[in-house]
């Protein structure tokens, strides 16, 4: 019940610095130990990979801690395959951040 990991996109990273979040990401380039990924709003961030960096892809859901507005330290990743519509994902994230929905999703509008 304690650990909440709100879904965010690149534009919202700065609101969650130091917190655990979930992002849906498209892997752009892997340069172990980091990777560049593109999030659902088109913004790119850097991800510091955890030791189990068998991520799959090209789409993954990454749970991690926001270090700064362009960098996420990954805890784990779930392979989402190749059939992800990022526009729908982004729209969902934006809806979760509306004031009326934020109480249900622990988001910061």
């Amino acid at each position: 019940m304690d650990m909440k990991t709100p879904r965010i996109n690149a534009g919202r990273m700065s609101r969650y610095i130091g917190e655990r979040v979930r992002v849906v990401a498209k892997i752009v380039k892997v340069n172990a130990p980091t990777a560049m990924v593109e999030l659902s709003d088109g913004g790119q961030i850097e991800v510091k990979l955890s030791s189990d960096s068998h991520m799959g892809g090209p789409y993954v859901e990454i749970i991690g801690q926001v270090e700064n507005e362009k960098s996420l330290k990954m805890f784990k990743a779930i392979n989402l395959g190749d059939n992800i519509d990022m526009a729908v994902v982004n729209h969902t994230i934006e809806l979760m951040h509306t004031p009326v929905m934020s109480q249900y999703w622990s988001t910061k509008p």
Partner: protein, 308 residues
């Protein structure tokens, strides 16, 4: 002027799973049991829509006092985990409500963190981003449709159908169906269904006749506008339409500069980070709205008004 432009920014979402959740008769609404992801749930596994005598203890359908059975008791309410904790329990009984409406039978989509196999039940630890909870899947409730072995491998998302229970002060879910997700957009379908259903139960059907205007918060306007009219356009288009709705203009409409400033003010993250991206996304959204007939230019290409 009519040269084809390369589209940048938010593409139109593919409408893979739009189904008419909001039918014309509110009393016959059955959230959670329509749509392309529910086709497998009605085969085998206990016929949960009709069944009253599942040993998994679905709860008595006969209301005490012999009152009429409410239509919503047989319907599935899509929920997120935070809402399972927010639901209120009528003292002593196993009836739960959220926003005043029964949430006895629910469906959840969440990631499996952990599976513990016990003699009488499997216990799944679930996390959907809004919270964590346990779901107990009793041995008798299992059928050939459940693929526990597959779930163990992927530790990915599953769909749960069940009911809310409290035991020794701790809330959990009594799951009758546990099914791994095969289409990775299904969680996002579910999150949207949760939000739409929540808004329906809070505020009534969309485009609602007779709902007092005061009940809507300012933040809902853009959500409703997008949902009811241009649900296949993106959030930028929705924010632009919301700007027009909240700032009625004269016949000359608004200058694009003011529209963009308004959008940035109310939805600061929607256009992204840098100036270039912002302009491109805004311009694309304005194009989409003009082509869809939502906006038309008035004095010149810098002024637009809303088509009523």
């Amino acid at each position: 002027m009519a040269e084809p432009k390369e589209r940048v920014g938010t593409p139109e979402p593919k409408v893979a799973f739009r189904h008419n959740t909001f039918g014309s008769d509110p009393a016959r609404m059955s959230f959670g049991s329509q749509g392309p992801y529910y086709q497998n749930l009605n085969s085998g596994g206990g016929g949960f829509v009709q069944g009253n005598n599942s040993p998994a203890g679905f709860g008595s359908q006969a209301t005490p006092g012999g009152g009429e059975r409410k239509a919503t008791n047989t319907n599935l309410r899509p929920l997120n985990i935070a809402q399972v904790y927010l639901a209120e329990q009528a003292s002593g009984s196993e009836e739960y409500t959220l926003d005043g409406h029964p949430v006895t039978h629910i469906t959840i989509v969440a990631q499996v963190l952990n599976i513990a196999t016990q003699t009488t039940a499997d216990v799944y630890k679930l996390d959907d981003g809004s919270g964590e909870i346990e779901a107990r899947h009793w041995v008798e409730a299992r059928s050939s449709d459940d693929m526990d072995a597959d779930i163990e491998d992927s530790l990915g998302y599953v769909r749960i159908v069940g009911s809310i229970r409290t035991y020794q002060g701790k809330r959990h879910i009594n799951a009758t169906i546990v099914r791994p997700i095969t289409d990775n957009m299904e969680p996002f379908f579910h999150f949207n269904e949760v939000m739409a259903t929540t808004m329906y139960y809070k505020n009534g059907p969309p485009g609602g006749a007779g709902i007092p205007a005061g009940k809507y918060l300012a933040g809902n306007t853009s959500t409703r506008a997008v949902a009811e009219e241009y649900s296949n356009l993106g959030p930028v288009e929705g924010a632009i339409l919301a700007y027009f709705r909240n700032n009625p203009s004269g016949p000359d409409g608004h200058h694009v500069k003011h529209i963009m400033e308004g959008v940035v003010r109310t939805s600061p993250h929607i256009l992204g980070g840098d100036r270039n991206t912002q302009s491109q996304l805004f311009a694309t959204a304005m194009d989409n709205l003009s082509e869809n007939g939502a906006l038309y230019s008035t004095l010149d290409e810098q002024h637009y008004a809303l088509c009523q």
